[in-house]
Amino acid sequence: MDKIPILKIGHFLMVAIQVDLYDRLALSLESDLVQAVSKTGAKGVLIDISSVSIVDSFMGRILGNIAGMSKVLDAETVIVGMQPAVAITLVELGLPLKGVQTALNVEKGMELLQKKIQFTEEEEIDDDSTLQ
């Protein structure tokens, strides 16, 4: 079976989906990615879907699951590069990409992740100081 490579870049994991996913491949990406987050302690996950021409309810749910499970493991997820036609279709389909952040491209997505991580680190420092 095909596999989608997961890259580790600093504190982040990055995946570029280059093929139209069939359901089983999407499911294996979901479990591989969540396992990788847990194993590496990554703080962020970036999923590049710029080559994906169809996101249906199944694929949408997988993206939501990845974001939800990563959140439990203390990692933020950003989906980047969604094609405009896909975005329009998702709205009409009625699929709420709950808990899924989006950014225009990989660069913007990285910036967003970086900001979010700094923010949570600051919050943690604040928490510590109130304890003292």
Partner: protein, 136 residues
């Protein structure tokens, strides 16, 4: 309505969905369908073919290039001989699912196409026909 050309294929396993989506894309490109409409149609078709696999153990899909009022479009007919849908009105509502899912497939597919027709008989099967016009 005039049928200009057609093709039919079985959807019996997950990989058939991939083949079908690619074939559909070829038809859509052939009639010069806009990219947004292509995306909407293929997404709707993906929902309906998955339903057929999941709830009816598979079925058949007919792809037709149709013409009416000087407009070209694609008509898809999904037919299965599965268990049928007891309450179509209910199944067409957002959020109704017997598969512990989101219940978006049928109502979502309807929103994405120009024309949506569903016929289902319990114990006999389900036939869903959709049309998407080239620019509509």
């Amino acid at each position: 309505m005039i049928v200009l050309s057609s093709d039919s294929m079985p959807i019996m396993k997950e990989l058939d969905m991939v083949v079908f989506r690619n074939r559909l894309k070829e038809f859509a490109v052939k009639i010069g369908m806009s990219l947004v409409n292509q995306t909407k149609l293929i997404t709707a078709a993906s929902e309906l073919s998955r339903n057929m696999l999941r709830y009816a153990g598979g079925g058949n899909v007919l792809i037709e290039i149709v013409n009416a009022q000087r407009q070209n479009g694609l008509r898809l007919t999904f037919s299965d001989t599965g268990p049928g849908i007891p309450d179509i009105d209910k199944a067409m509502k957002d959020g109704f699912s017997t598969g512990k899912s989101l219940g978006l497939g049928l109502p979502g597919a309807k929103r994405l196409v120009s024309d949506f027709d569903i016929k289902s008989t319990v114990g006999k099967g389900t036939t869903i026909t959709i049309i998407k016009w080239k620019n509509g």
